[in-house]
Amino acid sequence: MMLTPLLLIPFLGLVPLLLWPASAPAGRLRAVAISVLALQLLWSLVVLVAFDPADGGLQMVENVTWLPTLGLDYRLGVDGLSLPLLLMNAALTLVSAVCTRDISQRPRIYFALLLLISGAVNGAFLAQNLLLFLIFYELELIPLWLLIAVWGGAERAYAATKFLIFTAASGMLILGAFLALALLTGSLDFSLTPVTSERLAMGSQLVLLGALLVGFGIKIPLVPFHSWLPDAHTQASTPVSVLLAGVLLKLGTYGLLRFGLGLFPEAWAVMAPWLAGWAAVSVLYGSLAAIAQRDMKRMVAYSSVGHMGTILLAAAAATPVSLLGTVFQMVSHGLISALLFLLVGIVYRKTGTRDLEVLRGLLNPERGLPYTGTLMILGVMASAGLPGMAGFISEFLVFRGSISAFPLATLLCMVGSGLTAVYFLLLVNRAFFGRLAVTPPTDPLSDARLDVRPIAVAPREIIPATALALGVVGMGLLPAGLGHISEAATTAISQLPAVMTAIGIRGGLG
């Protein structure tokens, strides 16, 4: 019973929050939520300690038959692919709760929803039964919709509805694929067993894999299913953006690896060249769209589209190095984008705007946001893949692992990675360098004389961002730890197509 507590802690933790009297101060509810999330992080670390990195298969498996007539089993397990994501979920939900301040309305519901999302994400990463996965995958949807629709910005209704429609479609496609799999194979076995061509014709495999790709492609998101993400990010509050970028998008890439590659290794190998091309389009489109943005948050959101695209490239290549790269890219993107969203949130809170045509010179040492600016420069350098930080090691692994399989797509993705430097330098140059100003320039003479007085950032406000920045640098300098945890599992996944082919050949001969 190592893994069930990861579900019990958040799900039971939200009960006292909901039972608290409505008059309870938001600060106390926040403290309760932080304690629960800290406990969850602690238990995730316990799982990390108990984890055996040398074993590439599932560990700490818990298996309870639940509804055998439906094929729904309560089957949990953890491997080197899901463990880093569990840790990320625990850490970033905690960061979200810590950076939630000045919450004016319904704090009980707000923190309860945070815990619900965190528990559901844990469940999705741990589930080893397709239906169980789907339950958790859908479970995080409604809380997130509420978090955007209730606590979001001015256009929140539009953004939240768009998010709901897109991700509901995603859920339906995945459910459809799973049910069709049961229908076509004629068995109610929803366990995670690779489907061979013996059991299912290649044509059907490709259709099912296509449904999964679109379903998870919406969640990641990949172009052209990405348009919900920038709207959701711009309207979501900072903690929700942190969760969304840092954790929830990873459900898409995790699903792609676990169910796309894991269930249909043969079909995956057939589609891989197209997937690599799709990845290159997604990376280039995301990066080019980011250049055109003038809202800082939209820019970071489009950079997410670009960076998540590289995960598809690495998954398509499916070499041991590139799959290790996917884990690194998921963790590094989670840390970096969470850091960037936190910092953009601080800028927005202090200046009342995220408009790059308005903000200037925020690095001003006395009147600006110098420490925030410093962390922002660190964050964009990491995102652009500068050595010594998390972005470098993950992109290096992705490109190194993919270039032999798909040279052209990899080179195009590298161009997209280079464009990261372009748009983030635009961001830093516009918002942080030059004379301090938070007003659209109308009269150059009088604007140059304006006495600008943003409120200072208190040290406690910057603690979460500092912690993430340390994580980004730490992972860049000492990547071996994560590699140690994940390598056996990703190598095992990379050998699936070869193993399947070998089994297929033997089956054919027999």
Binding site: A154, R367, R435, L450, D451, R453
Partner: protein
């Protein structure tokens, strides 16, 4: 995208040239007369006075004791080479004398007025040659250097002369600013017009003070700026100082574009507008902003009354040096105001048309330059009602 909250910015107004000239001619002060301004100006000038005292002593020490020293590594120690002093210097528990040198270089480079004119005369060069001959006898390095680069040592002596003259100027200003603080504490100065009048009296009283400078080389005394050159405090040092440091200044890296091809910095030195009255206080403490050094020095000697006021405005201690810089700019407008009042060609109450026209032209010339300065700090709209 939401509109930027108005509470995050403050615009101080922007009086035009006609209004500034009118104020000068009507004997009104440029800086609005409010009780807050009196505290700001008097207290900031008091701390400036203390800092100028240190600057002045050090500049005079450098010019006299470190004269033609090729490796003046202890020039900021005022001759005190004790371990404690060196340690305090190394951990930066000290006055930033670099700022004084920066002002000296601005004066030397802009080179206006009688002092600069004298530095190019035959008499000055003859003195230089005598000094160099005497010094070369004892210093083989200089003996080697001078024949190779004939212009080098005279230029160093010009630098030393400017250093000494600035030291003498600040000696007077330091005492004047400290006296102003004393006068305000005793209730003799209560308003901005009285502050300006006090400064004007001080400048007028010192106007004719002679500026001289002699060095002792190998036991022999030489004049660098002899009495017969006739250099005086106000015309030959104070006015060039105001021109170089208050008005022209030099552009700081990071605040002004250095695209010389686009002539974003005027190729004509006299058109420079980067001095203390034009400088933007917001980048204070940024890299490459020399006034940050002065603000740090003044911060260390800030009177408690003003410090307490700063603690309760905007970011408190967090942006205290920017606030000092803003107050300093106000006080520098008062000093400029006093200097203009003291140098009108005719008394302002002289009713003859010739005198009125001359005064008007003088005021207009100043107003034309000042209307481009940071007059937003003057808070013209806050003028105290009589």
């Amino acid at each position: 995208m939401p509109v930027i909250p108005a509470r995050l910015t403050y615009a101080g107004g922007h009086p035009d040239a006609a209004e500034l000239a009118g104020r000068l001619l009507a004997s009104q002060t440029l800086l609005a007369d409010t009780p807050e301004h009196v505290v700001e100006v008097v207290d900031v000038l008091y701390s400036y006075g203390i800092v100028l005292d240190a600057y002045s002593r050090n500049l005079i020490y450098q010019a006299e004791e470190q004269f033609l020293n090729p490796f003046p590594i202890f020039k900021f120690l005022d001759g005190d080479l004790s371990a404690a002093k060196i340690w305090r210097h190394l951990i930066h528990d000290r006055i930033n004398f670099e700022y004084a040198e920066y002002c000296m270089k601005a004066m030397l480079w802009h080179g206006t007025g009688g002092l600069d004119a004298y530095l190019d005369t035959e008499a000055f060069l003859a003195n230089c040659q005598a000094i160099i001959r005497r010094k070369s006898g004892r210093d083989p390095l200089l003996a080697l250097l001078h024949p190779l680069f004939g212009g080098f040592l005279p230029e160093l002596i010009r630098t030393a002369a400017t250093t000494h003259a600035l030291g003498q100027f600040w000696r007077v200003m330091s005492d004047l600013f400290v006296d102003l603080g004393q006068a305000e504490a005793e209730g003799r100065v209560r308003s901005i017009p009285e502050v300006v009048a006090f400064l004007q009296q001080g400048l007028v009283a010192a106007a004719a003070n002679p500026i001289t400078y002699a060095v002792t080389v190998a036991g022999e005394r030489f004049w660098v700026l002899p009495p017969e050159a006739g250099l005086t405090f106000l015309v030959d040092v104070a006015v060039p100082y105001v021109e170089a440091v208050f008005l022209r200044g030099t552009p700081f890296l990071g605040t002004v574009s250095f695209n010389a091809q686009a002539q974003q910095i005027s190729p004509d030195q006299s058109q420079f507008r980067y001095g203390a009255l034009y400088a933007d206080p917001l980048p204070t403490m940024g890299a490459g902003i020399p006034p940050s050094l002065l603000m740090q020095d003044m911060y260390r000697h800030l009177p408690e009354r003003l410090h307490e006021r700063y603690r309760h405005s905007t970011r408190g201690e967090g942006d205290v040096r920017v606030k000092i810089c803003m107050s300093f700019q106000k006080s520098m407008f008062c000093v400029t105001n006093a200097a203009i009042n003291g140098t009108f060609p005719h008394p302002l109450d002289d009713p003859t048309p010739l005198a009125t026209a001359a005064n008007r032209a003088y005021a207009d010339a100043w107003a034309a330059r000042l209307c481009l300065a940071r007059t937003d700090c003057l808070d013209a709209s806050k003028q105290r009602r009589a």
